[in-house]
């Protein structure tokens, strides 16, 4: 089977730091791929490279077999790749609705929209409310409150809801449960399963091994800027995975990345 999203030989340098060192990457259709690795291993840089947020210095990326060349997150979004960045990428002073629709606002029908460029606030608010409800983030009265008045977990919830609502080909989640409580994390995991059941593949970066082993179909172990190996969570334990990603144990020969 051909990967839906494929990266080859990706290199990204920040000054003297090589964040990605000839890294390969494969996401198969319909799967949940977890990416694990130590802090600073280059996981976030990898997903930035495939989501247009960082342009790799070398290497190539294919989406559905076609070579793509993203110069901005807008390019990747237009291609159907939706990302929740580790930093969440929200405008704190703007409302939940404004943030969910940032860069893809809905305009009014008729001349109000086409001539006066007026936003269709009621439509955007209804959509945002529905999506947050799906995620169990009840916010009936206050969909217009500024994001900065939300807790860290709520903000993460909004960011995940935004990605889940708009992603059509690939959804990337960079540590989506890091700021969440136990129950909120559970909602996000349910949402991940839900997105998968819609046939959309997911890249999940997480340090939470129980979460990774619960939802992942395959686990991409990232170490020192490249893919060390890809393992099947059914064949290994969490401690094996941790041992691979920290370098305490050599990866098995058959799973070693090419």
């Amino acid at each position: 089977m051909e990967p839906i999203l494929k990266g080859r030989n990706l290199v990204k340098r920040y000054g003297r730091v090589t964040a990605l060192d000839h890294c390969d990457f494969d996401l198969m259709p319909g799967e949940i791929l977890a990416v694990i690795g130590d802090n600073g291993a280059g996981k976030s840089t990898l997903i930035k490279a495939v989501s247009g947020a960082a342009t790799p210095d070398e290497g190539e990326i294919w989406l559905e077999g076609r070579k793509v060349d993203f110069h901005s997150p807008i390019d990747a979004r237009e291609a159907g790749i939706e990302t929740v960045y580790q930093t969440l990428a929200m405008s704190p002073a703007l409302s939940i609705t404004d943030n969910m629709f940032m860069g893809r606002e809905i305009r009014r029908k008729g001349p109000l929209g086409s001539v006066f460029r007026m936003l269709d606030r009621p439509a955007m608010e209804k959509f945002a409310r529905d999506k947050l409800n799906e995620l169990g983030l009840m916010t009936i009265q206050n969909i217009n409150q500024a994001v900065e008045t939300l807790s860290g977990g709520q903000r993460q919830g909004v960011a995940v809801a935004r990605a889940a609502a708009f992603g059509s080909k690939v959804i990337i989640l960079d540590e989506p449960t890091a700021a969440l409580g136990v129950k909120e994390s559970r909602r996000v995991l349910d949402l991940i399963q839900d997105v998968k059941s819609r046939g959309i593949p997911i890249i999940l970066i997480s340090h939470n091994m129980p979460h990774v082993f619960e939802v992942a179909d395959r686990i991409h172990v990232h170490r020192l800027g490249k893919r060390l190996c890809v393992i099947d969570p059914k064949d290994y334990t969490m401690s094996d995975a941790v041992a691979f990603m920290t370098g305490a144990k050599e990866p098995p020969e058959q799973d070693r990345a090419a």
Binding site: S91, A93, M102, R117, T139, Q141, Q154, M209, E214
Partner: protein, 357 residues
């Protein structure tokens, strides 16, 4: 370690019995000050509006009909029209967390171009006006490019541009003023913004109407169009805006170019206000516009505030100036009070921002 590797759900079992709703965005009990703070957070132009109304009432009480007349109140509008227009441009730039020190220079340069193109080259005045508007927009575009693409700090870019444009203005105009009578006789359209009309004792000029309409249109655009939301997002956190799909470069370019264009209109209005084209006029427009914006409650850190506030800020300065003059006070009292208002406005801004915490 390996005994923790299965049964990932175990640690969640303890949470199973609790209620199912999560992360509800409830309204906490905030208390009176908290409610005020939250309300101001939602309506940032309310503070300057209250100050404006209070100032009008106080001066009205002290001065009676001398101040509280349609004539005097509309005189304030006429006196603040230039600063009000420039402050609208300044507001846009400051909303993107920038600052534009070149606004006054762009204004004067544009007015000089409008005048000189008419009288030196004999262009039709309307064409000369278009050239002036184009020059203002072009200078704004250079500012925008240096800020957005070359990534220089806006303060430095516009500090340099201020000097460059001002010097170019003096060199090009040869310090020469075009007299009012000459403009009136040969190119009255240059003085269009000074045209007056009377509504029951209230005197309006085209410039005043332009200022009011401009602010209302920008207020609409900032609140109700995608472009406006992007301006706020870029000022709030440009990296986040970029990642969430905003074309930050295009937004910044549009803001600086629009700022330049508005300043050029201010240059046209300036001819209407003073009658002549003078390369030495409007020297304080940058500081006065920043003052209006700050008193108007727009945060210098970007992303917060309303352009209506800037209009109120400009009007507050106008009310203080005229009111104190009618009271016979030394003009220095105006500056002293404005200085205090600036500091108070920033203190209020800091307090309102704490609503986040």
């Amino acid at each position: 370690m390996s005994d923790t590797s299965r049964q990932p759900d175990d640690f969640e079992a303890a949470a199973k019995g609790s209620p199912e709703q999560v992360a509800e965005f409830e309204d906490h009990h905030r208390g009176f000050m908290g409610t005020v703070q939250h309300f101001l957070h939602m309506n940032p132009s309310l503070v300057p509006l209250i100050v404006l109304v209070a100032a009008i009432l106080i001066f009205g009480a002290l001065l009676g009909a001398k101040f509280f007349s349609p004539f005097a109140l509309t005189l304030i509008l006429q006196q603040v029209q230039i600063v009000g227009i420039v402050a609208a441009a300044q507001s846009l730039v400051i909303l993107t967390a920038g600052i534009d020190l070149s606004v006054g220079a762009i204004m004067v340069m544009s007015s000089v171009v409008m005048g000189q193109f008419t009288f030196r080259y004999g262009l039709p005045p309307a064409v000369a006006i278009l050239c002036g508007l184009a020059i203002g927009t072009a200078i704004g575009a250079v500012n925008g490019f240096l800020v957005s693409r070359v990534k220089l700090p806006p303060f430095i870019v516009t500090l340099g541009m201020w000097q460059i444009v001002l010097a170019a203005n003096f060199l090009y105009s040869q310090n020469e003023t075009i007299r009012s009578q000459e403009i009136e006789a040969n190119a009255p359209i240059l003085q269009l913004f000074g045209a007056k009309f009377n509504v029951g004792g209230a005197v309006f000029t085209v410039g005043v109407i332009f200022m009011l309409v401009l602010v209302l249109v920008l207020a609409y655009a900032l609140r109700h169009t995608a472009w406006g939301r992007h301006v706020y997002a870029v000022g709030d956190d440009p990296e986040a805006a970029e990642l969430s799909g905003v074309n930050v470069h295009r937004t910044l370019m549009s803001v600086y170019m629009l700022s330049g264009l508005i300043c050029a209109f201010a240059g046209w209005a300036l001819i209407g206000r003073i009658g002549s084209v003078s390369p030495t006029s409007g020297q304080l427009a940058n500081i006065e516009s920043i003052t209006a914006v700050v008193i108007g409650g727009i945060s210098l850190f970007g992303g917060r505030g309303s352009i209506l506030g800037s209009l109120f800020g400009a009007l507050i300065v106008g009310v203080f100036t005229l009111g104190l003059r009618l009271l016979g006070a030394d003009a220095q009292w105006t500056f002293l009070l404005i200085g205090m208002l600036i500091i108070a406005a920033v203190a209020v801004d800091q307090w309102i921002r704490k609503v986040a915490a």
